[in-house]
């Protein structure tokens, strides 16, 4: 019996020693990233291979995951001993929660090195109280996509869509012509929150979200924006059964030409073509990409944009090689295949010149010309208030909630998360 125990201990000790020896040789950097498309995973792998060949002794372990699965896994992965060193992040409140729990590295020393490869807004988007905790790798933009032939059928010109009153008038004209004016995905709720996000920006100006976070939701600008959305919903602008349509369902509907317009992020261009019944969807030449209408009397906003700023957070326990790999991966040279394939709009300096797709080029120009690029509200406000804003936006558009109740619900969620 004693011999067995001693033998077992000896075996365990030697195994432990051998693994310790392995760790002493190699620095391992674990990267958990959103890999929905194979093309993107291949690009990341190539960058990792290049980095490893240039930096012997560093081992990069890649872990691609699908969007929703990654969000679910991250909560537990961060608290395990195998926590990823670099992982996909959409910034905003979730990033702040991670920082409060002490999971994020302080990369302030790397700010200058990052500043040489990515644009300033990509650096500032990943700061918490001035502390650099990661970097953005891509931008996306929410625009009004319009099906040109359908607009022509109802006699609506693109100029009319530049103002809010004109947009509402166009909705009425399209209905009269028997065409569904707007498609949206009510079941998933986040496509509807784009309306509330833009209305808040137009009514409240670029500082509105910071104001709401600091001074609460019961503000005139919020009530006005929420009322705008209720009034818009009363025009019956959406497709039948919109509350049961998921984002892919609705993308397919838009691709099939069942509706004239969709307020959505730039990924719709590929998605509507993929999800349409004929696999081809609305051709890019028939697609108008317009900014969200302006013309709100008394509103403080001008041409601010709403969209995503996605990137990577770096774990507090990560080795220095992690930050170095991030700088390497985010550079224009490594992001070139991403830009050329139109997978994302990279944040690297000069990347907008690598974009081949005319729609993507136009979007990149809009983002760089924007006075302020607001991150998606359901990311910026954190996981709890973010979900409530999606709920609230859908309820306002469906006419089942008043602006005052919406402000109350959001304030309650905000108070709970403090």
């Amino acid at each position: 019996m004693r011999a067995t125990i001693l033998g077992g201990l000896a075996l365990a000790a030697s195994l432990l020693a051998s693994t310790a020896a392995t760790y002493a040789d190699d620095v391992t950097v674990r990267m958990l990233f959103e890999g929905d498309t194979k093309a993107y995973i291949d690009i990341v792998q190539k960058a990792a291979d290049t980095f490893m060949s240039q930096n012997p002794g560093v081992k990069i372990v890649l872990m691609p995951m699908e969007n929703e699965a990654l969000k679910a896994k991250l909560l537990t992965a961060l608290q395990s001993s195998d926590a990823p060193d670099i992982y996909t992040s959409w910034g905003g409140g979730m990033m702040q929660a991670h920082d409060q729990a002490g999971y994020l590295a302080d990369l302030s020393a790397d700010k200058d090195a990052l500043g040489k490869v990515i644009v300033p807004s990509a650096i500032s988007a990943f700061q918490v109280d001035g502390k650099q905790v990661g970097a953005a790798d891509s931008f996306s933009l929410v625009s009004l996509y319009a099906n040109k032939p359908l607009l022509a059928k109802a006699g609506v010109s693109e100029d009319e869509l530049k103002t809010w009153d004109g947009f509402k008038g166009a909705v009425a004209k399209l209905r009269a012509a028997g065409i569904t004016p707007v498609i949206t995905g009510g079941k998933d709720e986040w496509p509807v929150h784009f309306y509330l996000g833009y209305l808040l920006l137009r009514e409240g100006g670029p500082t509105i979200i910071a104001d709401l976070k600091k001074n609460g939701f019961n503000q005139p600008a919020f009530i006005k924006a929420a009322q705008d959305l209720v009034d818009f919903g009363k025009l019956n602008p959406f497709q039948d059964g919109w509350l049961s349509k998921t984002w892919p369902d609705s993308a397919g509907q838009f691709g099939d030409g069942e509706g004239a317009m969709y307020l959505m992020g730039n990924w719709i261009v590929a998605q509507e073509q993929q999800d349409a019944k004929d696999g081809k969807g609305v051709a890019e030449s028939d697609l108008a990409v317009l900014p969200f209408p302006s013309g709100f009397p008394g509103g403080k906003g001008t041409t601010e944009t709403l969209g995503g700023i996605a990137g990577y957070e770096v774990n507090a326990k990560a080795p220095p090689a992690a930050a170095k790999f991030l700088e390497f991966f985010l550079s224009r040279e490594q992001q070139k295949p991403v830009a050329e394939a139109g997978l994302q709009i990279p944040s690297a300096i000069g990347s907008d010149q690598d974009l081949k797709d005319p729609v993507m080029k136009a979007i990149a120009q809009q983002i760089s010309a924007s006075p302020m690029h607001q991150n998606f509200l359901d990311q910026d406000l954190g996981p709890d208030v973010g979900k409530v804003i999606n709920d609230v936006a859908t309820a306002l558009a469906a006419g089942t909630m008043t602006p005052e109740d919406a402000a109350k619900a959001l304030q309650e969620a905000m108070d709970n998360s403090k």
């Binding site: 059964g241 049961s244 709970n416």
Partner: protein
């Protein structure tokens, strides 16, 4: 099992059996695993339910909120709706799904090959994964391409978008749940019916009973304990219903079709309000334990 059980105190009845020490040793691994994976998480969850905790690292004392989570929970309109929906599920299970399973069992209990084929067909929904079922029904009920909508338009009616109405979407869930689980109950009843003595049927026929009377006076009493077990499964299953809600409606539209567990998932876990979710879990646990113990004490006393 109709014999009257001897009512000894638990510990006395255990120690009176021979070899009880060996029994304890054999039971130990299962007890340890049960404690580790069931009891300990329940205690942790109950502990975390008094904190305003987002799930990252351990809860800290400045986040202690006492029974605040529970008060918020009981005042939450969506949770009240979820309780109502779960009650609807239980009612539909007991008054539609189980009678349907019983009727099918009565029809298909025989040995003809047609019965056997249909038994297999009706049991297939039970084998199908919940997520797959939910996705299938999401498209069956779809307002544009769903079969119900298409049929309604054939007859000149309007397109029916059941899942787009906050008040009617729960019906879609009830239909999908009934379709999925009635086959399971049917099989339980068929198994129970195999155990009924054939001579009872012959005696009933000789006494002049028709098919309906044979069913009421021989079959149903014969499978009474199976029916009680089946009701037990139906109630507990309805209380913990979750898998079909996510792909069908996601608890919507406008949070109208949540069940208790889907509410826990969407309002607790996804919103990183783990303490709040734990409060839901504690409430659900208490309800389930009360239902299970109460049911066994009152209804399954002699089984």
């Amino acid at each position: 099992m109709a014999a009257i059980a001897q009512r000894l105190p638990f510990s006395a009845s255990l120690r009176n059996q021979r070899g009880w020490k060996t029994a304890l040793i054999f039971a130990a691994p299962a007890v340890i695993l049960f404690t580790l994976f069931i009891v300990v998480p329940i205690i942790n969850a109950a502990g975390a339910s008094v904190y305003n905790w987002n799930g990252l690292r351990a809860p800290t004392s400045d986040k202690f909120v006492g029974i605040n989570n529970f008060i918020q929970l009981l005042n939450n309109k969506t949770f009240q709706r979820a309780l109502y929906n779960t009650g609807l599920l239980i009612a539909v299970s007991l008054f539609i799904q189980l009678p349907l399973g019983l009727a099918m069992a009565a029809l298909l209990g025989g040995r003809r090959w047609g019965s056997i084929v249909f038994r297999m067909i009706f049991f297939l929904p039970f084998i199908l994964a919940e997520i797959a079922t939910g996705l299938i029904f999401h498209y069956i009920f779809d307002g544009d391409v769903g079969i119900i909508s298409v049929v309604s338009q054939w007859f000149g009616g309007p397109p029916v978008a059941l899942l787009a109405d906050p008040n009617l979407a729960i019906i879609g869930i009830l239909v999908a749940a009934t379709w999925k689980y009635f086959g399971f109950h049917m099989m339980l009843y068929i198994a129970g019916m195999q155990a009924i003595d054939r001579s009872l049927y012959e005696a009933a026929e000789i006494d002049g009973a028709n098919a309906w009377q044979r069913f009421i006076y021989v079959t149903v009493p014969g499978i009474a304990s199976t029916i009680r077990l089946s009701v037990f499964f139906a109630i507990l299953g309805s209380l913990q219903f979750f898998d079909l809600v996510v792909p069908l409606t996601g608890g919507g539209p406008l949070n109208g079709s949540h069940t208790i567990v889907s509410f826990l998932y969407y309002f607790g876990i996804l919103r990183m309000r783990i303490g709040f979710g734990d409060a839901v879990g504690v409430v659900l646990f208490v309800v389930c334990v009360a239902a299970a113990i109460g049911y066994r004490r009152l209804v399954m006393r002699n089984d």
